[in-house]
């Protein structure tokens, strides 16, 4: 048996069929300057495995690794302790190797896990129904906007200026192809978010208003007035959460009247992982909207003998049945990350989650108090959970972050990095503190920051 799938003759036959002379003809849409026309400059053609390993290790040693230095990065991805038991459980063969095992006759374990996942997300968000996960927080945010346009039959979404700019960009990218209008804005550097200004932007054509909670600057406010203002114009309130641990301490978006609540689930059970795979969470407050939800839904039922069991339900919304009219065409749902989320949540329990949230907030308060004592540094927020904004004197925050990195401290995410070229934001620094932060880490950041802002 041959293990090389194609012969030159096979390739020629396929090329002839589509009237292409060479393989390169398939890449004509790639601009010439972006095409590789020979060996990569500076990369030797051959090296031994040991030599490659040695080289790669030397490259990796140049990284400042999250677990090895004082680490204060957040802005949508948070470093939390993931108990070793989470990895052990999700790597059991029954879970890990079973890909899309949705046949109820043989997959009650996976289906029960999904049902418990949905229950946890719904309770965390204060909603009636959650789906069995989406790809990540930013695509979940777009799905919420798309769902709002279906529900309201309107095509305009108003984004809060304090929505994570990467989420706003994903929404705008998708809207480019659906023809929806996205009204976005820049964040205002103020202690409280400008909710009155946001509400004034909602009009009779607005399908939804999208608000992040806690917002990109870490601020927390009561969103009930925004819900009322949206509903008064016939629009939906979409609330985005990028740090689910916060909801162990603060009021759920559903309780404040959010119609759709979406977010990133990475904080629970899923590591930083260089930015992915992450986990999209999606829930609706009112069960009447369930048929407009994207993604899979697992339901509880009874079998022929009256025993409790689980099945996928309402599948007619999905693309294998509804094709281009499905409620979503983003396919992957990060199933293993959803399992990790549920295992971590189950190990924590409700009390554990509240305690974890309290510990995050306690350390964040310590950090804010300590950093406020650094000359030339001010804390912007009136309220925050485990992430807040510092206003730095002197150089732009982006340069100070680099300076801190040279001193062996990952000091935060500068707004200059999130909003390149926006001068009004360049002195702001987001600082995230979790249960993994020690008091020594905080002291070290304060000391190094004092030098860096001089």
């Amino acid at each position: 048996m041959r293990y090389l799938p194609l012969t030159d003759n096979d390739r020629q036959a396929m090329l002839a069929k589509i009237s292409a002379a060479t393989i390169d003809d398939l890449f004509v849409d790639v601009p010439e300057v972006a095409r590789l026309d020979g060996p990569i400059h500076g990369l030797p053609m051959h090296a031994s495995e040991m030599a490659v390993e040695r080289h790669m290790k030397a490259l990796a040693a140049k990284n400042l690794v999250a677990g090895e230095v004082p680490f204060f990065l957040g802005a949508g991805a948070y470093r939390h302790h993931v108990p070793a038991s989470v990895d052990t459980i999700i790597q059991r063969g029954e879970f890990l190797t079973a890909y899309t095992p949705y046949q109820p006759e043989i997959a009650q374990g996976t289906l029960q896990m999904l049902f418990e996942f949905q229950t946890q997300v719904a309770r965390l968000y204060g909603c009636a129904v959650a789906n069995a996960s989406l790809y990540d927080g930013s695509t979940a945010c777009w799905e919420a906007v798309a769902m709002a346009t279906r529900v309201t039959k309107r095509k305009r979404a108003v984004l809060s200026g304090a929505l994570h700019p990467h989420y706003a960009q994903v929404v705008k990218t998708m809207a480019h192809f659906t023809g929806d209008t996205i009204a976005d804005a820049l964040p205002a550097i103020t202690a409280e978010p400008d909710l009155a200004g946001l509400m004034a932007r909602i009009d009779e054509d607005t399908a939804c208003v999208v608000v992040q909670y806690p917002d990109i600057l870490g601020r927390i406010s009561d969103l009930a007035p925004v819900a009322e203002a949206a509903h008064a114009k016939g629009a939906l309130l979409v609330v985005v959460n990028t740090e689910p641990v916060a909801l162990g301490a603060i009021k759920s978006p559903g309780e404040m009247g959010a119609d759709i609540v979406v977010g990133e689930g990475q904080s629970l059970g899923v590591g930083l992982q260089f930015g992915g795979p992450y986990l999209g969470l999606f829930a609706v407050r009112d069960p009447k909207h369930v048929r407009q939800m994207p993604g899979r839904l697992c339901g509880e039922t009874v079998d022929a003998e009256g025993k409790r069991g689980f099945v996928l339900t309402l599948s007619t919304r999905e693309q294998h049945i509804r094709r281009e009219k499905a409620t979503s065409n983003i396919c992957t749902n990060s199933g293993l990350c959803a399992l990790a989320f549920t295992v971590h949540m189950t190990l924590l329990g409700e009390r554990g989650l509240r305690e974890l949230a309290a510990e995050n907030h306690r350390l964040a308060c310590l950090a804010a108090d300590r950093l406020a004592k650094v000359p030339g540094v001010e804390v912007l927020n009136n309220a925050f959970f485990n992430e807040f904004t510092l206003m730095l004197g002197g150089k732009p925050a982006r340069e100070i972050v680099r300076d801190l990195a040279d001193r062996g401290v990952l000091g935060g995410v500068s707004l200059g990095r999130l909003y390149p070229g926006v001068e009004a934001l360049e002195h702001a620094l987001l600082v995230a503190v979790t249960e993994t932060t020690t008091e020594e880490d905080i002291e070290r950041l304060a000391t190094e920051l004092e030098e860096a802002v001089k």
């Binding site: 039959k153 007619t316 919304r317 049945i321 509804r322 009219k325």
Partner: protein
């Protein structure tokens, strides 16, 4: 007078209001119906374009507007009991009522005998 479409909708015309539903043949093909998504009262619908969605345990299908007009009433009973479409498709299981913008559009539809012959040929 009752007319039929090739998409298996029926339309009853009484004065200047028409009632629309799906045929007995259509409900038989769909199987147990679990949900009907109706248009909003006041919506303007166009002949041949999507007007409603009917969902059974095995498929979700679009229901097309047999003629152009404005939706004046929808069958609230279907929200509680979508199975009415199975048990009484051409009676209590009606979907919506609408105005008739252009009576000429009705000429393009089939009558009962025409539809029967059409279905027999499927």
């Amino acid at each position: 007078m009752r007319y039929y479409t090739e998409e298996h909708e029926w339309i009853d015309v009484e004065d200047d209001i028409a009632t629309v539903g799906i045929t007995d043949y259509a409900q038989g093909q769909l199987g147990d119906i679990v949900f009907v998504e109706l248009p909003e009262v006041g919506a303007l619908i166009e002949q041949g374009k999507d007007a409603a969605v009917v969902e059974s345990v095995k498929a979700a299908s679009d229901v097309y507007a047999p003629i152009t007009g404005e939706v004046t009433e929808t069958n609230a009973a279907l929200e509680e009991d979508p199975a009415l479409v199975n048990s009484a498709p051409e009676d209590a299981g009606w979907f919506f009522k609408m105005t008739i913008s252009d009576p000429g559009e009705l000429d393009k539809l089939m009558d009962e005998d025409g539809y029967k012959a059409f279905v027999d040929g499927l």
